[in-house]
């Protein structure tokens, strides 16, 4: 196409350079990438996905099937962006990728933002109907959001002849809406996902509309999450192409697109031809003619069109060929359109043209309606699918509802808004916006012109997918009858543009093929999103450190100062090990284990979940939650407990300490703290609301340090000189209060996860660092060593203590862990009934066992499969899996834990731990590897 000397909504005084592939081109301010390429003579913008046929721009809006490009270089690059939605800005770099994008590997440095908004009335679409609807809302003092796809309000008006000077009513309306206090006008914004209860996700394009140098300060895109009391869908209609042989050539364009390029961008062909089934297509011929563009004629399949527009065309001296179709096209050597083959009863002739404007009628744009499950029906008179009825809380207005006149759209939009506002109890203001004008004459029901030579493999139904009439016929030949199946067989409508222009034609070709009316066949539905959303826009600011909160204990700075290496446990960061200079993780872990087994170690256990359970019925409540009895616990004593889900599987474990008769301090695993609190709340609220119990999370209210090893008694004595720390004065699982020097009152519990004599001392959280330093100071004479998660895992595995989620999965029962005797026979608890099911007592269930590699230096892989015969061909019979595997200082050998089918009965047997093709022979044994008598617990 060529640029006219005058006209268009472009600024010829502001040329803008941009890159297309490896070439530098120039357009004007006001251009889109699509119009700038057409102006630069780039008729061919890429090749089709399967057949490699040359393709060009064929639309100016959402109907586009080919005009997609890769925008930007490097990390900020975005694939498959519709070229007619890219405003030309300085520094724009685009490359030809019309059907397949390329994702950058680097993180995108651009900023993406989210906003949440509520309104009385959301109007989707800023064309005649939408503007009229928004005006009614504005004048009724309603809170209104108006979302328009294009950078400017006006919709179809902007592509029509008088749009060089925007009509007064539109300019006035735009001014009034922009100035109204409770109206938010969002332009360059796509309403892309419709949610239940009148939710809508909008994508507002911000950064990409600014020159490269000015970006970074503002977000690239903003995702709006809108909840509206009422929604007016004024999404307009999309023009439908006509299927004929070689209908995909560069130079074949929708008729409205040809007008949009003429009026908005001052672009015209050398010689244009129009092929239309309806009166509207004549506008293109008339507008070209008025702009001095040579018009080869109008091809109309109707025998005698007598409407106002055909008459105007004849009066203007434009050749109108009736009862005629374009049956095919011919091309220049590079693939661009050379001529159309026009067929009448008299025969076929070639009409030369460099642009063929096609109009097969208009399809209401109902994607957002269909996303919510809204139905459509085929209207035999309008020859398009119209909404059956709007969804509750929604109104569909203007062309989206099948009204195709300007006055009708404005009146309809205003009426829809009035009805919507009245339903909200608001008093709608304003009088009728526009007046109904005469509709066009009936269009011809023509969707696909049969190929003259019968070769339908070049008659494109969905050119984006290279899907043809031949493909649809092949689908029908395979026995397919439903349009949704045709879609999946042919891939029609599965492209980035969802085959918007292809749906009706696919339905029509299917109807023709199966010999049934289109009303029966219908068209395939639509899914979100209307236009693709980049993942970065979805994540918004929630990436990197803002993706998920990082929780640290009050003692964290001390771990950092000690050079700890951290690991994530849920959201918590916990020290994994504390390497000395030159130490590896294995070295450090062995040293830390040795300290606990032979001297004394200290560990920050503040992350353990802590729940304060209070109330007269607290003991009864805990008795129902835990498999073992808690009611018999005396104040000042603690007890280890396990809780199950209703299906009898292990949910969590921890120590329950009774502080007073009606107050318990419950600890949970670090990862399950929130889930256990929720679990307690659920039962209290929904089943046991007769129990007088209150539960509160106090995990973050306490800083807790564990002191483990036979030297720990001395450390505690130094911290609390007045405390009786003898075995009888402070027995295992005892709870005491003391006030160490320089610290607030502390709670000390004698609990152990290493099998050694051990204590946990807790103070209010802010005093964590002081506590840590006080323990280090009190233990300095003993050479106290801080130990991390790695050492903890080795120490607990040596004792055969299971970890929820490490040994257990959603199918492990207490009995599988050797804790069957803990389950109370005398009281009911959650999961008790399920533990009696046949499947829960089968002898071949996975059971917790220990193992020692036959070679005491060999290390099995955690997660390795346990097999009986290592030489069995794959797939091998798997008996279970390794859950823990470590090197032990205390044992002087490698060892581990495993869950093995009927494992307790296999103790003593040698089996094999197999992973990654490597096999380690292991001998199964009791899970308690170290100090089986528990003598070390008392120091």
């Amino acid at each position: 196409m060529k640029r006219l000397a005058h006209g268009g909504r472009i600024d010829r005084s502001r040329p803008i350079g941009f890159r297309w592939d490896d070439r530098g081109l120039t357009g004007f301010a006001g251009d889109t990438l699509a119009s700038a390429l057409l102006a630069a003579g780039e008729a061919i913008i890429g090749r089709s996905v399967i057949l490699g046929r040359p393709r060009g721009i064929m639309a100016a809006g959402l109907e586009e099937a080919h005009g997609f490009a890769q925008i930007g270089d490097g990390a900020e690059s975005e694939p498959l962006v519709r070229m007619s939605a890219v405003e030309l800005v300085a520094g724009l770099a685009a490359s030809s990728r019309i059907t397949k994008g390329r994702l950058p590997n680097e993180p995108d440095p651009a900023r993406f933002d989210h906003r949440y908004a509520h309104c009385d009335l959301l109007v989707v679409g800023g064309g005649p109907a939408g503007v009229a609807a928004a005006l009614v809302g504005a004048r009724s003092s309603a809170r209104v959001i108006l979302a328009e796809l294009e950078p400017e309000l006006g919709g179809s008006v902007l592509r029509e002849r008088d749009s060089n000077t925007v009509p007064a009513w539109l300019a006035d309306a735009a001014r009034e809406l922009t100035g109204a206090p409770d109206v938010r006008v969002l332009t360059a914004t796509t309403a892309t996902v419709a949610l239940d209860q009148n939710g809508m996700v909008l994508t507002e394009r911000l950064g990409s509309r600014r020159p490269a140098g000015e970006r970074g300060l503002i977000p690239e895109k903003r995702l709006w999450h809108v909840r509206a009391k009422a929604i007016v869908l004024a999404t307009g209609a999309l023009e439908r192409p006509i299927v004929f042989q070689d209908n995909d050539r560069p130079g074949i364009m929708l008729a409205t697109a040809a007008r949009a390029y003429l009026h908005r961008f001052a672009l015209a062909p050398e010689r244009g031809l129009v092929f239309t089934t309806n009166d509207d297509g004549y506008r293109t011929a008339l507008d070209w003619n008025a702009a001095g563009v040579p018009v080869a004629g109008v091809i109309d399949p109707r025998p005698n069109p007598t409407g106002r527009l055909p008459q105007l065309a004849r009066d203007a001296g434009i050749q109108v060929i009736t009862a005629a179709v374009v049956a095919g096209t011919t091309a220049e050597t590079d693939g661009r359109l050379r001529a159309a083959v026009v067929r009448t009863d008299a025969g076929a002739e070639e009409v030369s043209c460099d642009l063929l404007a096609v109009s097969g009628g208009f399809d209401p744009s109902l994607n957002l309606h269909q996303q919510r499950g809204g139905k459509t029906r085929w209207d035999e008179h309008l020859l398009c699918a119209v909404p059956e009825r709007a969804l509750p809380g929604q109104w569909i207005a203007g062309a989206a509802a099948g009204r195709f006149t300007l006055g009708g759209c404005r009146a309809d939009g205003a009426a829809a808004a009035r009805s919507a506002l009245a339903s909200l109890g608001l008093v709608p203001a304003g009088a009728a916006e526009g007046e109904e004008d005469d509709p066009d004459d009936a269009a011809a029901a023509l969707f696909a012109v049969p190929a003259p030579d019968g070769d339908e493999s070049r008659s494109f139904v969905d050119p984006h997918r290279d899907a043809t009439v031949a493909g649809v016929e092949r689908a029908i030949g395979s026995g397919i009858r439903h349009v949704e199946h045709v879609k999946r067989y042919t891939l029609i409508g599965t492209g980035v543009e969802q085959g918007r222009g292809a749906k009706v034609n696919a339905g029509a070709v299917t109807a023709r093929g199966v010999g049934r009316p289109l009303t029966d066949i219908g068209t395939s539905s639509a899914r979100p999103p209307v236009e693709p959303i980049v993942f970065h826009a979805l994540s918004g600011l929630a990436k990197g450190p803002l993706f998920e909160p990082v929780r640290t204990t009050a003692i964290h700075p001390a771990h950092e100062a000690a050079g700890a290496v951290f690991e994530a446990v849920g959201q918590w960061l916990r020290p994994r090990y504390y390497p000395l200079p030159g130490e590896s993780m294995a070295d450090a872990t062995l040293r830390e284990c040795r300290a606990v087994r032979q001297g004394v170690g200290m560990m920050d256990v503040s992350t353990l979940g802590k729940i304060d359970v209070q109330g007269p019925d607290a003991a009864r409540f805990l008795d129902r939650l835990y498999i073992n009895t808690m009611a018999t616990l005396e104040p000042g004593k603690g007890r280890y407990g396990v809780m199950c889900r209703q299906d009898g599987t292990v949910f969590d474990d921890g120590v329950v300490m009774r502080l007073t008769t009606d107050r318990f301090f419950v600890t949970t695993t670090t990862g399950n703290a929130a889930a256990v609190l929720d679990w307690m709340e659920e039962w209290l609220q929904t089943e046991w609301d007769d129990l007088r119990v209150w539960v509160t999370s106090v995990t973050e209210q306490w800083s807790t340090v564990a002191i483990a090893g036979r030297g720990s008694r001395d450390v505690i004595q130094r911290l609390a000189p007045g405390l009786d720390v003898t075995n009888s004065g402070f027995p295992f699982l005892g709870v005491r209060n003391a006030t160490p020097a320089g610290l607030p009152p502390a709670m000390i519990a004698r609990v152990s996860f290493s099998g050694e004599l051990a204590y946990e001392i807790s103070v209010p959280r802010p005093h964590g660092i002081s506590l840590w330093e006080a323990v280090a100071d009190a233990g300095s004479g003993q050479g106290v060593v801080p130990y991390g998660m790695e050492a903890l895992h080795v120490l607990r595995a040596e004792k055969g203590y299971f970890i929820v989620g490490q040994e257990t999965d959603g199918s492990t029962t207490p009995t599988d862990l050797g804790l069957g005797r803990m389950a109370s026979k005398t009281k009911d608890f959650i999961g008790k009934r399920s533990l009696g099911r046949t499947a829960m007592v089968r002898p071949d269930r996975l059971q917790l066992v220990g193992f020692r590699p036959v070679d005491p230096d060999a290390l099995a892989v955690e997660g390795a499969a346990v097999v009986a015969d290592p030489n069995q061909p794959e797939p091998m019979t798997v008996l279970g899996h390794v859950t823990a595997s470590h090197r032990s200082v205390a044992l002087g050998a490698t060892f581990g834990l495993a869950m093995v089918a009927g494992g307790l009965g296999r103790r003593g047997a040698t089996v094999h731990a197999r992973a990654d093709g490597r096999t380690v022979p292991i001998t199964l044994c009791d899970p308690v590897h170290y100090d089986p008598d528990g003598a070390r617990r008392d120091g």
């Binding site: 949440y116 949610l195 239940d196 209860q197 009148n198 939710g199 999450h225 909840r227 499950g373 509750p392 209703q646 299906d647 929720d678 709340e681 659920e682 609220q685 929904t686 089943e687 009911d828 009934r833 399920s834 099911r837 046949t838």
Partner: protein, 86 residues
């Protein structure tokens, strides 16, 4: 994405809630294995009216019952105490 009417807080976005599954009665303590399995492992999965439990986990933390049409996602009722006859 639903807009859920919490009986205590009013309409809030679905992300503030956690789904609690179909609202059902606990099995009797002496339920046989079939009744127990039915409770633990089977759901009615209707196309239409569904009585379900939700908790406003990032709000008031209260459990409540919601009646929702699984075909249209229309929310018909939201109340605090499940009626015994549901």
């Amino acid at each position: 994405m639903l807009l859920i009417p919490c009986p205590w807080c009013g309409a809030r976005e679905e992300v503030e809630f956690r789904y609690g599954g179909e609202a059902r009665h606990q099995p009797a303590p002496n339920a046989d294995d079939h009744a127990l399995a039915d409770y633990l492992f089977y759901r009615s999965n209707p196309a239409g009216r569904h009585v379900e439990r939700w908790v406003h986990v990032h709000g008031c933390r209260r459990w409540f019952t919601l009646v929702r049409d699984t075909m249209t996602h229309e929310i018909q009722e939201s109340y605090f105490r499940p009626p015994d006859a549901s």
